[in-house]
């Protein structure tokens, strides 16, 4: 789960970067990365990201942000996989520990990313 999550996240982020580069090339303007990395043009909530991802042509910032969100969620997905495994093994102690950690992480995400 960790590996797949990491690889898919990075693939999404790279896709966004390629789209950005393609827009720069079609606009006949070089990508000014040192200036762009100081830019505050970032998406900061999941509803905002969902809206940006539905746009066509694709929004490069939205694609990269989708990769970032997936990367940030990957540890939680790995914990969910561990929880499933512990339940299957009937290891109640570690199933409870994994569940407690997931609840703590979900609380953080729901609290901070919901708006």
């Amino acid at each position: 789960v960790l590996l797949v999550g990491g690889l898919v996240s990075v693939a999404l982020m790279l896709a966004g970067l390629l789209v950005l580069e393609a827009y720069a090339l079609t606009g006949d303007r070089a990508l000014d990365v040192p200036r762009l990395i100081q830019d505050r043009n970032v998406l900061v909530s999941l509803p905002e990201l969902g809206h940006a991802l539905r746009r066509w042509p694709p929004d490069p910032v939205a694609l990269m942000t989708a990769g970032i969100v997936l990367l940030l969620l990957t540890p939680m997905l790995a914990l969910a996989a561990a929880l499933t495994e512990f339940v299957r093994e009937r290891d109640s102690t570690y199933a409870i520990i994994a569940a407690a950690l997931i609840v703590a992480l979900m609380f953080g995400f729901a609290f901070r990313l919901g708006g």
Partner: protein, 279 residues
């Protein structure tokens, strides 16, 4: 072309941070933040946001390999992550209540003491497996890994688990109170308090740092501190670096890892003491 070169330079720096992060169980933020701010002119909030991305990407790349090789112990990682996250939650709720300078001084002194203890056992390769304490037995905190250099399986059992868990809680507390990473303290707690092999300590730390970083990642994202164009080359570089670091760790001696780790602890101790005493 300059934009592409800039991205490649960012990616190369992140690769180096990923290699070291995977070996030392730290996530690479300690190297990446100064590199990004000094050499790439990145503002501190964005550098910190990139650092969180670096920690989680290192954890994804390294932990997956370490879990396969048996160096990372999932049960140990989850048990200790629970105490660290609990400490971080308590710490976050106490911000402003406890004096920051005193906390930094105490944290610096604790790190300095740990560095001294690490120095005394710098050459130690494998500890004799002693009696398991009751907490280790209750929570199944033991395991084994195949050591390529010794060409044999190395068995280990955690000891002094209550001390290790208390150190982890303290690390989480400091992390929540001061907003600093606690990767170094996690490794020290496993290596020194719980007497686990250094490679198991750093590999398990790699598994844990992703979980603890994810707990605070929402704050950085919600504040808009994760710049996608900066995060992308960092994530790519760190992930590639962490794959390489994972392979290297499997072929390193515990003593070598400890020698690489010691300067980081001394740097962190000095930095904390300076901030606590001088500021």
């Amino acid at each position: 072309v300059s934009g592409l070169l800039f991205l490649l330079a960012l990616c190369a720096s992140a690769t180096g941070a990923g290699v070291l992060g995977a070996i030392l169980g730290l996530g690479g933020g300690i190297l990446l933040v100064p590199i990004l701010t000094i050499f790439f002119g990145v503002s501190l909030p964005y550098a910190m946001g990139a650092s969180i991305i670096s920690v989680i990407a290192t954890s994804c790349g390294a932990a997956a390999g370490h879990l396969r090789s048996g160096l990372a112990n999932v049960r140990l990682g989850l048990f200790l992550a629970l105490t660290t996250v609990s400490g971080a939650l308590v710490g976050a709720s106490l911000v402003g209540v406890l004096p920051e300078r005193l906390l930094k001084t105490l944290f610096g002194l604790a790190l300095l003491y740990s560095a001294f203890m690490m120095l005394r056992q710098l050459e130690l390769e494998v500890r004799v497996v002693g009696e398991t304490d009751w907490l280790a037995k209750r929570f199944g905190l033991s395991g084994s890994y195949y050591d390529h250099l010794m060409a044999r399986d190395v068995e280990y059992r955690a000891t002094r688990v209550s001390g290790g868990a208390t150190a982890m809680f303290a690390a989480g507390l400091m992390s929540g109170l001061l907003g600093i990473g606690s990767g170094a303290f996690k490794v020290l707690a496993m290596d020194y308090f719980m007497r686990l092999p250094m490679k198991v300590s750093t590999a398990t730390s790699n598994f844990m740092i992703g979980i603890t970083a994810a707990a605070s990642a929402g704050v950085y994202f919600g504040r808009g501190d994760i710049q996608p164009l900066l995060a992308t080359p960092v994530a790519v570089g760190v992930l590639v670096g962490s794959f390489a670091g994972t392979r290297l760790l499997g072929r390193m001696r515990n003593a070598t890892v400890r020698k690489l780790f010691l300067p980081i602890v001394l740097y962190l101790a000095g930095s904390m003491l300076l901030q606590g005493i001088l500021r």
